[in-house]
């Protein structure tokens, strides 16, 4: 009894206060993120007002807002944004249609359902760069299995500038439709069965119960999937960069990469990075708002 009391008081004496534990647990993470994310961004904000080039040893010259002004009036940069927007629309729409369709099909019980669902989720877990490389092989006009399977002859997927964006988007849909499927499935399985039964008693059509019961109840979670995929598609780099060198697939991230690490326009690319950053932060804000809304339910 005495021994136990003893350990207790010693433990209490050695124990950290709650406040100390909280700070010791949280502050290193915040500090790490500030040092390796916020600080570099402040650094590049400074560079965005200069004509600095990392490839030459000349010191940076302050040029004020010139980088921003020139970027925003550069038709090529606007073309990059247009390409990105088109890519976002095509691939996110495709992902929602395929993903939600698959979720509707999967939303029933059948043997090995869990196994089949996991198989369908495999593409999204894999490296976009490496798998994208193999889609180049699949798309090959002369011996690619896709043209053979679809009987398309020597249809040119990637080297034709008019098709390349769609070809990359199809690969993106293949990778990420399962993501939309996974979220939709969670939404669908939460729809109470008795609503459908009530609708059936009222002799409501399948379309009616789909638009009046299924869609409204799945909408919030579907919206999360859409916003998240929009953000990721907006940032897209790996897939389009690996699969195609066409100007028609040069998304804003690819432009940024080339400007910074091939043309070495460090100052100007920092400015473009900030323009991109503003868009990303805006989408993130919307995303988190909806995430919290769904969480509260």
């Amino acid at each position: 009894m005495l021994a136990r009391l003893d350990t207790r008081s010693r433990a209490a004496a050695q124990g950290w206060s709650d406040l100390a534990i909280r700070n010791a647990f949280i502050i290193p993470t915040i500090a790490f993120l500030i040092i390796f994310n916020v600080f570099p961004l402040i650094y590049s904000l400074g560079y965005s007002f200069t004509d600095f080039r990392a490839s030459v040893s000349e010191p940076a010259r302050f040029v004020g807002l010139r980088n921003y002004r020139e970027l925003l009036s550069d038709p090529n940069v606007w073309r990059n944004f247009t390409v990105t927007a088109k890519y976002v629309i095509v691939s996110v729409t495709g992902q929602v249609v395929v993903g939600f369709g698959l979720a509707m099909l999967l939303n029933r019980t059948f043997p090995m359902k869990g196994f089949v669902t996991t198989l369908l989720l495999l593409p999204m877990m894999m490296s976009m760069a490496v798998v994208g490389l193999f889609w180049k092989l699949l798309y090959d006009p002369s011996w690619g299995p896709i043209n053979y399977a679809l009987g398309l002859g020597s249809f040119d997927w990637l080297s034709n500038p008019n098709h390349a964006l769609y070809a990359v988007a199809i690969t993106d849909i293949w990778m990420w439709a399962p993501f939309v499927m996974l979220l939709s499935l969670a939404g669908l399985s939460a729809v109470p069965q008795h609503l459908y039964e009530a609708a059936a008693i009222d002799r409501a059509s399948g379309w009616y119960s789909f638009t009046r019961i299924t869609l409204p109840l799945v909408a919030p979670i579907l919206l999360i999937a859409i916003i998240f995929r929009t953000m990721e598609a907006f940032k897209t780099f790996d897939l389009a960069y690996i699969m195609s060198g066409q100007p028609t697939t040069e998304t804003i991230s690819i432009r940024l990469y080339k400007m910074a690490f091939q043309e070495w326009q460090t100052g100007r690319s920092s400015a473009l990075a900030y323009i991109v950053l503003i868009v990303v932060v805006a989408i993130t804000n919307i995303y988190v708002k909806y995430l919290n809304k769904v969480k509260e339910r």
Partner: protein, 318 residues
């Protein structure tokens, strides 16, 4: 009230399941193509019509791991007979294994694979370790402006890699961290840290506070309660978070492309760089890709109950 399924409904059900199976096969076809190309004879990898059925062979894997040179003249029958099986496969292809002082020279692939392992594992340990502590902090204590901090943490995850890479590249160049393991580890840890905080917070919130309170009453300090009560309860969550972080770091391409070129280069930028102009040996590339994708495929099955939570940063649970 249980509904008796009408015949029409039953048929529709069957059709839906049949459709699911067809779509699953279509979705798996590209992955099958990667896997099968790795085991194909080289001339069947790019044949017309595409080869679906073939006798599998392991030549591509032998080639993947070795440095080879073209044979000038056919190899002597005695040398061929004396060579181990894997070297005979190389001879069959009209090449020989490069040896320096009798030592077989390895290709770059094994070192790139090791780099991927080192960087992914180290950054995962750091991100999950720090993330678990931080998640506990946010889950159990009053933090001023809690939601703002959590948003800040998440927003760092959303930054496009190329945007972060520009200043990081300049900083790394100044302190000599380009093309180093440490450089990539720091970037991946930062990238995964926010993810691990959010995911772990979801898991921590699910552990009843009463467990610790009971421990505190029993004379544990808060720290002991955390180590002895909370952490063991959180093991599943920690494992799931770790596997997710590993996969993210394992697959990452943009940072690795920008920050490394030889010494610390990981597999994702290395594999596509092998596709040069001229004749590409897709079987060897497929073999490398196959080994690279294998851990992810296995982990996906191990994670199957946590996938939804993982892709939504812990916000949606099943």
């Amino acid at each position: 009230m249980a509904m008796v399924a009408s015949p029409g409904k039953r048929i529709r059900n069957r059709l839906a399941i049949a459709a699911v199976l067809v779509v699953t096969l279509i979705f798996l076809a590209p992955i099958y193509w990667i896997g099968s190309t790795a085991f194909k004879p080289r001339d069947q990898a790019t044949s017309v019509p595409p080869t679906v059925f073939f006798t599998p062979e392991t030549t591509a894997f032998v080639k993947l791991f070795t440095k080879r040179v073209q044979l000038r003249q056919p190899v002597e029958p005695e040398t061929y007979a004396a060579a181990p099986w894997w070297e005979q496969r190389i001879f069959d292809g009209g090449e020989r294994v490069l040896r320096v002082k009798g030592e077989v020279q390895l290709s770059a692939y094994p070192s790139r694979f090791m780099n991927s392992l080192i960087v992914a594992i180290t950054s995962t340990v750091l991100a999950v370790g720090m993330g678990t502590l931080t998640a506990y902090g946010f889950s159990r204590f009053r933090v001023p402006a809690e939601n703002d901090w959590l948003f800040f943490i998440l927003s760092t995850r959303m930054l496009p890699p190329v945007v972060v890479a520009i200043p990081m590249f300049l900083m790394y160049r100044a302190i000599g961290l380009t093309d180093s393991h440490l450089g990539l580890i720091i970037l991946y840890t930062a990238f995964n840290l926010s993810f691990s905080v959010w995911l772990m917070k979801g898991f921590m919130d699910e552990i009843p506070k009463e467990y610790e309170e009971a421990a505190l009453v029993d004379g544990y300090t808060r720290m002991q309660a955390f180590w002895k009560i909370v952490l063991p309860e959180a093991v599943t969550g920690i494992a799931a978070t770790a596997v997710f972080c590993f996969i993210i770091a394992w697959n990452e391409y943009a940072f690795a492309l920008i920050m490394t070129n030889r010494r610390a280069q990981t597999a994702p930028p290395f594999i596509p760089a092998q596709v040069g102009s001229g004749l590409t040996d897709w079987t060897t590339i497929a073999a490398g890709t196959f080994l690279f994708l294998l851990p992810v495929a296995i982990f996906t099955f191990a994670l199957r109950h946590h996938l939804l939570r993982g892709v939504t940063f812990g916000a949606i649970r099943k």
